[in-house]
Symmetry: C3
Amino acid sequence: MNGPSTFVHPAALCETTSVGEGTRIWAFAHVLQGAVIGASCNLCDHTYVEGGVVMGDRVTLKNGVAVWDGVVLHDDVFVGPNAVFTNDLVPRAAPHRTSPDALSRTIVEHGATIGANATIVCGSTIGAHALVGAGAVVTGDVPCHALVVGVPARQVGWICCCGARLTPPWSCPCGRDFATHGRGLAVVTVLRRR
Amino acid sequence: MNGPSTFVHPAALCETTSVGEGTRIWAFAHVLQGAVIGASCNLCDHTYVEGGVVMGDRVTLKNGVAVWDGVVLHDDVFVGPNAVFTNDLVPRAAPHRTSPDALSRTIVEHGATIGANATIVCGSTIGAHALVGAGAVVTGDVPCHALVVGVPARQVGWICCCGARLTPPWSCPCGRDFATHGRGLAVVTVLRRR
Amino acid sequence: MNGPSTFVHPAALCETTSVGEGTRIWAFAHVLQGAVIGASCNLCDHTYVEGGVVMGDRVTLKNGVAVWDGVVLHDDVFVGPNAVFTNDLVPRAAPHRTSPDALSRTIVEHGATIGANATIVCGSTIGAHALVGAGAVVTGDVPCHALVVGVPARQVGWICCCGARLTPPWSCPCGRDFATHGRGLAVVTVLRRR
């Protein structure tokens, strides 16, 4: 059941009963039955969430964003206006298909940002705290803390949780230290002495 | 008159009386008076169709797609979420124009797919069964069965009706054989012996 | 107070009282309290205007355009369908921020056009009568009368108020003569003898 502090704008349609405390759903948004939305999220005007979606806490969907079955948004994800997800690598009108729809996954990890009007081709994982630039077209995995831009998206740098650019030796003025971890970076010290 | 099996969501606005059987028009969609929509179409949330549009059967418009006067969608066309059509090559605010609006045409032929968040500059014809990649910007004609990607969109391959990539000698595992036809490909045998 | 000739579609939400004469606000559009909208504007379906926005006269917002606090649209600006503005250079979910939101400005000067599905990274000024091509991603200032395209957007030419391309010696068949002015062009004679 939706919490007492959940806000649903009178011009929104919210058909799920699993919306966390403090989440706001704005005008002309549409959340389908079955969707699970975390706490303190912000679903702006003209957003759309399918019924199989599970979304973490403190997720922001700016205007015009649709989240399809197969897309997973972890906590603290920010999705910019008119950014576009997909869940079908080769969408075709029904009669031409020879196999059932293979729904491809997209995972956006903790704290990542999808820039305004970016496009995420399904099958991709956007690593924690990565930042996809405005208008980029992502066609593969993005490492944690990577900054990617362009069409197709290419990595041009690294970025801290706080939004500052990172360079070796991977210490951010905000107090976080990083180390390489797999293909990406990971925080190793949050409360570094300065 | 709209058929008895036409579905219009209570939060949609459908002002035309020419919607085919089995077509569904979802929430916050708006279809203007005069539009002619085929049968078994699917117009998702936040779509928009102008009054001069003629659309074939089994067309899918995913969320946020607007179809303007001057855009023609043949049967079995799939338009991905937030894909954008245009009908004016040099749009300007009214007072600066020196000539009447010249409405440019866009034709999307049978079975073609416009990828998510793609942009179609008007004056283009998208050939039958072509596939425009996600986020591509189409600035000219696309041959039948071509796969185009990027900004501006360039052809990177060929694609079958079923969605599989095609290479010479142009036989798809799905059973279709192709031959070159003009600048594109065309099916020559649907029920090839395998 | 909104003028008597202001039109607000019954399915729109208009919460401001500062809308000029002859302005039309269409279905599923949402204008927040405090926004100041000029006269003879056209806010199409699914548009959105935040409460701190000030917009000139004769501005067109095609479908799906959102205008945020920090974006300034001068008179006679045309914004194409699903074009996207921004107001935060490094958007992040709230808990990761270490400083208050720094709202970045975007200024679109008199008579400029933002093409369909273009993206404007904030901090940019789009000069008077410039034209941003469909699908372009603008990451910096655009000179007056410049034509920019691509990702990131690069200048590929010059354009007249009337929409014609301009080349030296900067005289347009429409009757306007130009001279270089700063990084851009400016009209020097409107009623040239032909």
